[in-house]
Each structure stands twice: as structure tokens, then as C-alpha cells.
Symmetry: D2
Subunit: 159 residues, 4 copies
């Protein structure tokens, strides 16, 4: 077990950028104390932007930061998928109410362009709302409206 | 910009478990200074276990920890997918050499059972190795051999 | 080898509905002599309805007939997929010109509702048009506008 | 409505190969009178080769014929998918008994190599057998053992 003093020791040789990274992680950790979001979702600065009635889609955002990138300095495809999965899960809550829990059955993601910086937007549409299965599709765009990824997913409603 | 002193201030009211979480993150951050892995992959304790010649699969492992879980205390499906994507990407490196870079075109993941704790294993098989397209499949199991997820993916070789 | 006389013999005990089925097949076979469509596509009465500029989609139709159904008297899911694959392939031709041939890399199809009778419509959108990879999505609806299936597909351009 | 005489008239100008094609279609139609298979499945000469206990897979075969090909004289990808869908549906029957009907929720198919002639083999494995959802994977090979396609599918058990 690491003590508080040990942790402070560990922080001694962090450089400026690493200090900022750890600070963001501490902030996310504190938010997750009271947030319905998971820690990883807080780290992504995941947020809901409500329902776009005109388009019929639920809108979400996340912030691309250094610690979420792959070795090529692009957003890690796994994090893009985490964004999509979280957007779909949140849509189930918003569209069908919090008393029904649903789990992801499967996801199919096409990665169309790399994401480098700034905020991403996910727009999620309910394609089918069955008694047991909910089918959704999500499109992820960057700040310039460029399409980053498109995905479909099946969610399973627990009784 | 947060200063080192500001960060230390922020750490004052972390509880025991949060101290451990931040410590793990600092460790992962330090490893990522010299590691070919992305930070998020270090956070997952991603590692390669070599090629299983008998089965014809490349083997990888990751550790399920609290900060990688969703609100239901199961491994976040997005992190499972990050594990799979990283395993497939590493397989391209191991199977075809580091001079060829490849990017994920698409992933299709079926989530079969929740993962709760301990090490997960990913076994990745190259299904097709074309000049441009590499098709792989990955199966993720937990410590008890239970199948957690199965996935297929297309990777695109950059020239 | 069956002779013409042998075939006529075989037709003796067909009932009324079977006569109609074979007649449709003969018609499709004759159309396929001069058609750029495959025989199976002629059997489905596949046709292009042009480009819907307002929606940005290419529109196609097919006719659900008895011989294309499964044992439950619904359109066979494999035929729905044949419709989708043909619509995507035709879209490549229309959008990028006939000098470029493209082959299907993968298809992901969600079956949302059974199709029973009448004409189906497929609307295909080009989601990404890369130098090598074309990503499309197709939605299939029935005469009442009910969503039957939704699909995404990757096509690979041959040089 | 076409009469028997009208049909015979229509057959007058068929060439040798077309006569053979129509003959195969009449045969398939007659088999489908008593067969649990759909007409399109009979046209593919779909058949079950039983359970391979050693590999843990259900084995099926189909015959590639001219009328199932696309305009490039390769097996139409939609027919490959029809083969896969039928193999998965038959596996549900064999593995779980005929009293439970199941429908295809989604299919994900990777087309790996073109199929030209002869018999194809589909090997289907049950990956997950839930109370409601059955996940399967199917690999299609040709006579030379070359991998033609690999697929995963979710089936939904009707109560």
C-alpha cells in the first residue's frame, strides 16, 4: 500500500505537462465521487448535450486530451469506442427511463478519420426499440464537422 | 496552469483508495515515458505474452482495476474494446514487422459476460493477411477461462 | 444433362403456384442475358431508382416474392443482405464511375423487422470515400415505411 | 396469370445452359415441397453434415452454381451470407431443439476470398448460449480449404 507521503515522493520528478495530466486525473476522480459517470468517462470529460428534436438524436461531447491518445498522437480507437458505448448507454437512460438497466450486446465501429484535438460530438439515434433489444447508431464528428467514426450497437434490456 | 503546489493541495482530501488510484496513474505515466505503449494502455497494465505456436494466436494480458470499471462495477465495455484494439494493433507489429504501420478500419465486438477482477487474456489470430487489409479475430477470457468478449477487426496497412 | 423434353416432362406435375414461380424464374433468366445484374438480382426484381439529392442517398427497390422467403414465410435474411450488398455495389458504380471495380470487404446487418410482401426500398449513403476504402450505410424499408434492416459495409477499390 | 401452355412457349428459346438452370430450379422447387428448407436454400443445395465433436462445430455444405454468381462470375456475397445465416439458424435447431424458434438479430460478415466453383463448407460454433441471445461464429471454406468468409451473428430466441 502506497502512503500519502510515498505518493508525494513519487510526484517529485514529474515534469510540467505530467503535473497537468495528474491534476486532470485527480479532478476527474473527485467528480466521479458524486457523478453517475464512471471514472474513465469523467477522464474523457463526457457530457450530455440533450436531445436534438429536429434531428431526432441525443447529443454528447468529450474532450480529446494527451493522455487519451495512442502512440501516434491520435485519439485511441478504444477511447472513441468508449465514447460511443457511453453515448448509447446514456441514450437508453434518457429515452427509456432510469428504472430499466441495459447492457451492451455488441458494437460495430467504423473508424473514418483520426481525431487529434478539441471536443468531439456523438449523435445517437434509436433505430429500434424492442421489448428486449434496443438498436442504436452513433456518429462522431470533430469540431470542424468532420466524421470521425460511425457505429451501430445492440443493447439488451435487463428485466 | 496548475502548479506543483496546487496539485499537492488537491491531494489533501483524497481517501486511502483514491491515493492508491492516483499512485497507479503516476506509475503508468512514468512507464509511458519510455514505453511504446500509450498511456491508457499502461493504465490497463497491457502486456504481450508472446505467440502461442500450438494455437496460432498472439497472447496479451491486462489487469481489471477499479478505475477501469463502469458504474455497475464491471469492466467498462469501452476498455474491453481498447484491450482488443491494442491486441490487434500489437499483432500487426509482431506478425508483419515494425516498418509497416497499420490503422484500425473497423471493429465488431460481442460482449458475452461481464469482467469483474483479475487478469484478462486476449488471444488474437490473423484470419487474412492481404497486401492492404489484415483481418483478425480476438477472444478475451478471464482468469477462470470464461469468455468475456469475441471480436473481429479490419486493419489497413499504410504504405 | 437434362434435355428440353426431359424438362417439359418435369413440368407436368407442377401446380398453379409453382408454374408462376418457374415462369418468373425464366423471365429473370432471360433478362439476365442482357442485364448487368446477376441472375439472383434479376430474380429479386432489383432496380435502381436514382439519386435522392435532398437526402443524399441512392435509392433501390426489390420485390418480395414467395420463392425468396424462409420457412416462416418472411423474406429470407440472406436475401435482405443480397439486396443490401447489391445496393452498395451499385452505389459504388453510380458514385465513382464504372471504370473502378470494387469488392465487398465486410457487411454488418441488423435485422429489425420481418418483411412479408410488396416492394422494399434501400437507401444507401456514402459515409466515407477514401482512395482505397469506401464505407456505406443502407437502410431498408417496406411499403409502409417500416424499417426492415440497417447495415454498414466496407468496399475495397481494385486498382 | 401464366398458363402451363404459356410457360412452355416461354421455354422455346432457352439455350442448353439455360435449360439446365431451369431444370435445377424445378428440382429445387419440388424438393422444397417436402423439405424444411426454404426454396432459396434448396437452390443452394444446402445440407447438414452433422456435428464435428472434435472441433465442436456444426458442419454444412452448399454447391456454387452459375445462377448464384455475381456479374464477375464469383459467388454473390449475398448468397455467401444466405449460406451463413442458414447454417446459424440450423445450428440453433440442432443445438437447442426444434421447439425453440430463433430469429437473426444481426450478422457481421468478412469476405476474405472469392468462391468460384464446387462445394463450400460452413463450420458454425456456438460462442454463447444465453437464455435469450445465442451468439455464433461461422467460417466458410472452399474445396481446397481456403477461407472464403468469416462471420459472427446474434440470434434471438422467441419465447
Amino acid at each position: 500500500m502506497m502512503t500519502r507521503e510515498g505518493l508525494l515522493q513519487e510526484l517529485q520528478d514529474l515534469n510540467e505537462q505530467e503535473i497537468q495530466t495528474i491534476y486532470k486525473m485527480v479532478q476527474a476522480l473527485k467528480r466521479s465521487r458524486v457523478s453517475p459517470l464512471a471514472y474513465i468517462e469523467e477522464l474523457m470529460n463526457f457530457r450530455s448535450d440533450g436531445y436534438d428534436e429536429k434531428e431526432g438524436v441525443y447529443v454528447y461531447r468529450m474532450l480529446v486530451t494527451e493522455e487519451l491518445k495512442n502512440r501516434y498522437k491520435m485519439l485511441h480507437g478504444g477511447i472513441t469506442t468508449t465514447f460511443i458505448d457511453t453515448a448509447m448507454g446514456s441514450t437508453v437512460f434518457q429515452a427509456f427511463g432510469i428504472e430499466r438497466r441495459a447492457v451492451t450486446l455488441d458494437l460495430n465501429v467504423h473508424f473514418l478519420a483520426p481525431a487529434q484535438d478539441g471536443w468531439l460530438t456523438a449523435r445517437t439515434r434509436v433505430v429500434k426499440s424492442g421489448r428486449t433489444i434496443i438498436v442504436m447508431e452513433t456518429k462522431v464528428t470533430d469540431d470542424n464537422g468532420k466524421l470521425i467514426a460511425t457505429a451501430t450497437g445492440d443493447f439488451f434490456r435487463l428485466a
